[in-house]
Amino acid sequence: MKIGDCAKRISAQDAVNMIQNGDRLLVGGFGICGTPFTLIDVIAESDHARELTIISNNLGETGKGLGKLLISKHIKKAIGSYFTTNRDAVKAWNKGELEIELIPQGTLAEAIRAGGAGIAGFYTKTGVGTKLAEGKEEREFDGETYLFIRGIRAKIALIKADKADTMGNLVYAKTARNFNPMMATAADLVIAEVDDIVEAGMLDPEQIVTPHVYVDYIVQNDRYEKMGGEYVERGKH
C-alpha cells in the first residue's frame, strides 16, 4: 500500500469535525510530551466541540497543548492526576469554570488500560486512607486494604505517536509513549496524530506498540515540527 493510499488518513479538520459538544475525550501526553498538538490547535479554533470532558494526565502546560483549550474555553471538566502546574487550570477551577476529578497517576493509567481490555474494575492499594479514597469501595485481601477502581473509557481518543504505517500500526518516541498506548485501546473512535507515515511492512512486527486494530484514523502533525528537540509551530521560528 502506497502512503498516498492510506485509507485511514484524514485531515485534522475532518478529525475534529467528529467531535461533538459535550464529548468525553481521552487525550495522550505527559505535560506536553507525547501530545497531539495539531489536533488540539484545530479544536481550539473550532466552535462545535465545547463543554468537553478531557481525560489526560495534565492539561498540557500553561498555554501549550491542552492548555490552549483552557484559554479557548473548550473544557468543562478535566480528569487526571496533576493540574497544579498549569496556572490557567488553577484559575479556571477557582472561578468555578472548570470541574476537576483527581486520580492518582498509576490508578489513572491502569483504569484506562482496564477500560480498553474489557476489565470492569480492579483493586489497588494506591490511595487507601487518603482523601482520594472517599466514596470508594474498600476491600481487604491477605490482610491489606485495597480500593476498587472502575475502568475508564471515552467516546474519542486523541493520541500522539511518532510514526504510523499505512495500516495504522504505531510506534512512539521514547517517553512520548506514556499514556498513548492505553488510550488507543479505550475509546470508540481513536485518532492518532503522527509525525511520519510509512508504508505497511516498514515497521518491525516486534517493535509495533499499538497494533492497527486500535487505530481508526491517522492525522499528520502538519502544524508543528521538531526544532532543537522541541515541537515548535511551523513558520513561527
Binding site: 505527559f30 492518582p104 488500560r113 494506591t126 522541541e230 515541537y231
Partner: protein, 227 residues
C-alpha cells in the same frame, strides 16, 4: 560553625540530596520525586549502578543532556530533559505503574510537607488550598519497598514538619522508613522515630526544638556525613 539562618537554601537542599545519595546502594532501582530528590543524581557516581526509574515510563534515566542534545520526547517525571543510560528501557505509563505498584521499585525518595511520629507521609496537598495535583505520589507511597523522605527539617518560618499527628492530608497508610533533613537522619522502626545522625552544625537541643514529635536517640548516634 554556620548558623541555620545563614545557610542558603540550595546549600541545604544539596546537603540533603548528598546524604540521601549514600543510602542508594549499587543495583537498587530508585524513583526520585520532584524537588530535593531530583538533585540526587548530581551526587551519584556514574559507576554507582543505581538505576533511576521515572514514572512517566523510563528505567535507567541518565543525566541532563547538553543543550544541543535536548530531546523533549525524552523527559523525566519532573518534565526535564534527560538521557538514556546504558541498559535503559522505555515503556508506557501503565507498564511503569505496574512496575511501581507491583513492588519492583527498591527505593522511592520523595519530599514531604509533614511526617507524623509514626512515619505517616503528607506530601500532596495543603488543607484549604486547591487539591489539584497528586501525580504518582500515592502509588509510590503505597508500593515502593523502601521510602526515604528528603526534606528540610522545618519550614522557612521554623515550624516543625515532623509532628505528632499530621494536620495535612496524608498520602497513604504506608509509612516512611528513613527521613533525611538538613539537621538529622531518622530511621523509623516499629512505628517509632530513632535519631541516627545529627548534622555537625546542629545540636540535640535544636533538633528537639524543631521537631514536634517523640523520638529516641540511637545509642550509636553519628555525625551526619555531608562532607
Amino acid at each position: 560553625m554556620l548558623s541555620a539562618a545563614n545557610i542558603d537554601p540550595s546549600f541545604i537542599k544539596n546537603r540533603i540530596a548528598k546524604r540521601v545519595a549514600k543510602e542508594l546502594h549499587a543495583g537498587s532501582v530508585v524513583n526520585l520525586g520532584i524537588g530535593i530528590p531530583s538533585l540526587i543524581p548530581n551526587f551519584l557516581d556514574s559507576k554507582s549502578q543505581v538505576y533511576l526509574q521515572s514514572e512517566n515510563g523510563l528505567l535507567g534515566m541518565g543525566p541532563t543532556p547538553p543543550k544541543e542534545q535536548i530531546d523533549m520526547d525524552l523527559i523525566s517525571a519532573s518534565k526535564q530533559p534527560v538521557t538514556l543510560g546504558i541498559g535503559s528501557s522505555v515503556f508506557s505509563s501503565a507498564d511503569s505503574f505496574a512496575m511501581i505498584r507491583g513492588g519492583h521499585i527498591d527505593i522511592a525518595v520523595m519530599g514531604a510537607l509533614q511526617i507524623s511520629e509514626k512515619g505517616e507521609i503528607a506530601n500532596w496537598s495543603v488543607p484549604g488550598k486547591d487539591i489539584l495535583g497528586v501525580g504518582g505520589a500515592m502509588d509510590l507511597v503505597a508500593s515502593a519497598q523502601k521510602i526515604i523522605i528528603a526534606m528540610t527539617h522545618a519550614t522557612k518560618d521554623h515550624v516543625p514538619k515532623i509532628i505528632q499527628r499530621l494536620t495535612y492530608p496524608m498520602s497513604g497508610i504506608r509509612t516512611a522508613d528513613v527521613i533525611v533533613t538538613d539537621k538529622a537522619v531518622f530511621k523509623i522502626k516499629n512505628d517509632s522515630f530513632i535519631l541516627e545522625e545529627m548534622a555537625a552544625d546542629s545540636s540535640l537541643d535544636e533538633i528537639k526544638r524543631l521537631t514536634d514529635a517523640h523520638f529516641t536517640v540511637s545509642k550509636n548516634l553519628q555525625t551526619m556525613l555531608i562532607d
